[in-house]
Assembly symmetry: C2
Homo-oligomer: 195 residues x 2
């Protein structure tokens, strides 16, 4: 059908990835469309032609962040080896090893705080993310209980709920405080209550 004129000079995913970074460092309201143009390398025309509006680009960014993130986290939880190592890896995920880099926090959590109340798209994606993550955590803990690595005394549902919540707490507390000692207490404490 398409008579195919000049082809695009950019990959959509690359632009969205760049947008994710902008929204993650600045939040939705704080970053301007100019910031988005500069960081993505697109001119205004291209950006609006390709994505329609700031908010639509934001939705794409949220979706992509969600999809890439949930996949990475599930992968961590499904690694072979002791379940304890999987859970520790997840807790330590996105906590920079060297104490230099700054952690910018989770885009979805920040989006939920900033916009979930007024933005149905944010709410929907956040819910979906939490839901999938809880399932993946549940499976990992269940696996641990089946192999005997984790006691069967406490229910899988409750252990998964506790772990999920503590994980999210860490992902709020650490980026804001950059307190490594506290992060260690949280991580060790969370694991020690399960194992």
């Amino acid at each position: 059908m398409s008579k195919s004129g000049r082809p695009r000079e950019f990959k959509d995913t690359a632009v969205i990835d760049a947008a994710v970074e902008v929204f993650r460092t600045n939040g939705y309201e704080t970053c301007s469309t100019d910031d988005l143009c500069k960081q993505t390398g697109l001119g205004r025309g291209s950006l609006y032609n390709a994505f329609g509006s700031k908010h639509e680009l934001y939705e794409h960014a949220l979706r992509r962040y969600h999809e890439v993130g949930i996949q990475a986290q599930i992968e961590i939880l499904e690694q072979e080896g002791p379940v304890k190592d999987c859970l520790r890896s997840l807790l330590e995920w996105e906590i920079p090893k060297g104490e230099e880099a700054d952690s910018r926090g989770c885009l979805l959590i920040n989006a939920a705080g900033e916009r979930a109340k007024n933005d149905p798209v944010v709410e929907k994606i956040f819910k979906q993310h939490v839901d999938l993550l809880e399932q993946a955590i549940w499976k990992a803990i269940r696996r641990g209980q089946e192999t005997g690595e984790i006691s069967n005394v406490k229910s899988t549902d409750e252990l998964a709920g506790m772990f999920l919540s503590s994980y999210y707490g860490l992902r709020v507390i650490f980026p804001a405080t950059m307190n490594y000692a506290l992060a260690e207490r949280i991580i060790d404490g969370t694991l020690d209550t399960i194992f």
Copy 2:
């Protein structure tokens, strides 16, 4: 000294309390100074004369929210009776009982996500709040361990860290999802790993 002219027609704390509500429902960037005037009942002149700028009013709101909140939470943790009841009360704090009202989330957590990276005041107050809360939780758990209510096998530091983090996770997850069943799993799971 002061020749004392016309007295103010408003109480500072009442205005700040109103501002807390505005910032809590809208976030810093999303609410306008007009919104603040309308919700506080002050005219622009009065508001700027009394508080200087939007950001200064925001600081006052954060401080007040912090102070009122930390006091309430400490009070809950220091109630007499089983420590388990105290910890449950804290977890259930600000989770509306009737399933009607909407929960607007914690102003400090949202502020940390939206602004901690660019706003030293936010970062400082958030750190302070977390620090005081961890201490209060630590004391409660220690008390439980001294009375034998909580096992001494796990260290107080780690239990407190885990509980703090799970509590914060809940305060992120619940307002964004309004999922009561999940909240129950989290609360029960968190308590069951301690007791």
